[in-house]
């Protein structure tokens, strides 16, 4: 079986079977940034944007995504976020990073014209697990980029 989806702006045909989740269909098609870990919607390593909303790709039947627009970090990662993550020591083994980047960019888009505080960032990132960094760097990097982008644009 197969579905048609726009992945990172490119129309693709994804192969799948009846019970395949979107994560497996993406990885089978060579889109390897979403990671397979818990496969029960706890760890966030498989986070992608589905028509603009951040979701767990392991909890979506691939067949439900016919016609969807899927975005992963293969679409590109903004230089300011990369620099902030490195500067804050928010990347160690890197396994969780693609999922975090998708969630952080979705959060920054949502708060593009609004103040963003520490508690909001922690709640928004609570669906992504990182077993290396202890989260402080991830939260700080998110707030750094938010401050930078909102200051520049105002």
């Amino acid at each position: 079986m197969e579905i048609e989806a726009v992945v990172n702006g490119v129309a693709m045909t994804l192969q799948c079977s009846m019970g395949t989740n979107l994560l497996c269909a993406l990885r089978d098609a060579g889109v390897l940034s979403p990671k397979t870990a818990c496969e029960e919607g706890r760890c966030g390593a498989c986070s992608v944007l589905n028509d603009g909303a951040v979701v767990y790709s392991c909890l979506l039947p691939a067949l439900a995504c016919h016609g969807a627009a899927i975005t992963t970090v293969e679409a590109g990662v903004a230089a300011d976020l990369t620099e902030a993550l490195v500067a804050r020591g928010a990347v160690q083994c890197g396994f969780c990073t693609p999922g975090f980047v998708v969630t952080i960019e979705a959060l920054l888009a949502r708060y593009a014209a609004r103040p963003l505080d520490d508690a909001t960032v922690r709640a928004a990132l609570s669906g992504n697990l990182c077993r290396c960094t202890g989260y402080e760097g991830l939260v700080a990097a998110t707030l750094d980029v938010h401050l930078e982008r909102t200051t520049v644009s105002s």
Binding site: E40, A64, H66, R122, G127
Partner: protein, 276 residues
């Protein structure tokens, strides 16, 4: 793909009900978040076919009803519920505790009721909101009160060929409170929770208690005591009396029962003080 005999993508409630009648063995899928963990773990349990509800616009959105309540489509996501304002802030507050952002973006209100998990925050809040569900089948539309619809953890009276199409909530003005205990501040299933609503005249009081082991249930003795009894201990004991929590890896039964008492005393203080 759209024409496949085993994949149905209805675009109306009528089409969905027809597909369910034709293919009763197919799996009906709204957001997928309740179905997929099991399917990922047991790939051999692959569905015979899918009926995906995502294309049915008439299952989306929410509006006020003529009786002053609200009608929420079955496909309203928990993230949308979490964003609802004033009138539905009890339900919105509860939805904010449900899972993570990623989960709430996919999980639907209708799916939450059909899954009927004991750890459901939105079910706990809906117990205090005079909730009815609207159910459509080939033979017509019926309504069921929430407490009749959910008969136990993971079990509802939804029959073969029936689709939960909307959730109807009564007038919501008045005082309310939603408090929960989880293993951490966000993205953790409730260990226990307490929802309370009272109409503006404080005549109709509803208290619902979730203990993590059973779907939330009302606590009628606590409802009578909230504004009649100044002693928070009596109210807390009445709330605890409807709980029958179990022990599991997350918390002991004793901890859950104790925490329900703490939540009840906080709600007693906040609501009698007039805090909304």
């Amino acid at each position: 793909m759209n024409g496949s005999a085993v994949i149905r993508r209805p675009v109306s409630i009528a089409e969905a009900v027809a597909a369910m009648g034709e293919c009763p063995q197919f799996t009906v899928c709204a957001g997928g978040t309740a179905l997929m963990p099991g399917l990922n773990r047991h790939p051999e349990s692959v569905p015979a076919g899918w009926i995906f509800l995502g294309g049915i616009e008439e299952l989306r959105g929410w509006r006020r009803t003529s009786s002053g309540g609200w009608r929420l489509g079955a496909l309203v996501t928990l993230e949308q519920v979490a964003s609802l304002g004033d009138d539905l802030s009890l339900l919105a507050h509860a939805a904010r505790g449900a899972g993570s952002w990623q989960l709430r973006n996919a999980a639907t209100l209708g799916g939450s009721l059909v899954a009927a998990w004991a750890t459901s925050d939105v079910i706990t809040a809906l117990c205090c909101l005079e909730t009815q569900v609207e159910i459509v089948s080939a033979t017509g539309v019926r309504h069921a009160a929430l407490e009749e619809f959910i008969v136990g953890s993971g079990h509802t009276v939804l029959g073969a060929g029936e689709l939960l199409s909307a959730v109807l909530v009564g007038p919501t003005a008045g005082r309310h409170s939603y408090t929960r205990v989880g293993a951490r501040a966000a993205n953790s299933p409730l260990l226990c929770a307490l929802a309370v609503s009272a109409d503006p005249r404080l005549e109709t009081v509803r208290v619902a208690v979730a203990d993590g082991s059973h779907v939330a249930r009302r606590a009628p003795a606590a409802e009578r005591l909230l504004f009649a009894e100044a002693d928070p201990a009596a109210f807390a004991a009445a709330a605890q009396s409807v709980a029958a929590p179990g022990d599991d890896a997350l918390a002991s039964a004793a901890y859950r029962r104790h925490a329900i008492g703490v939540l009840a005393r906080r709600a007693h203080r906040a609501l009698r003080g007039g805090a909304r």
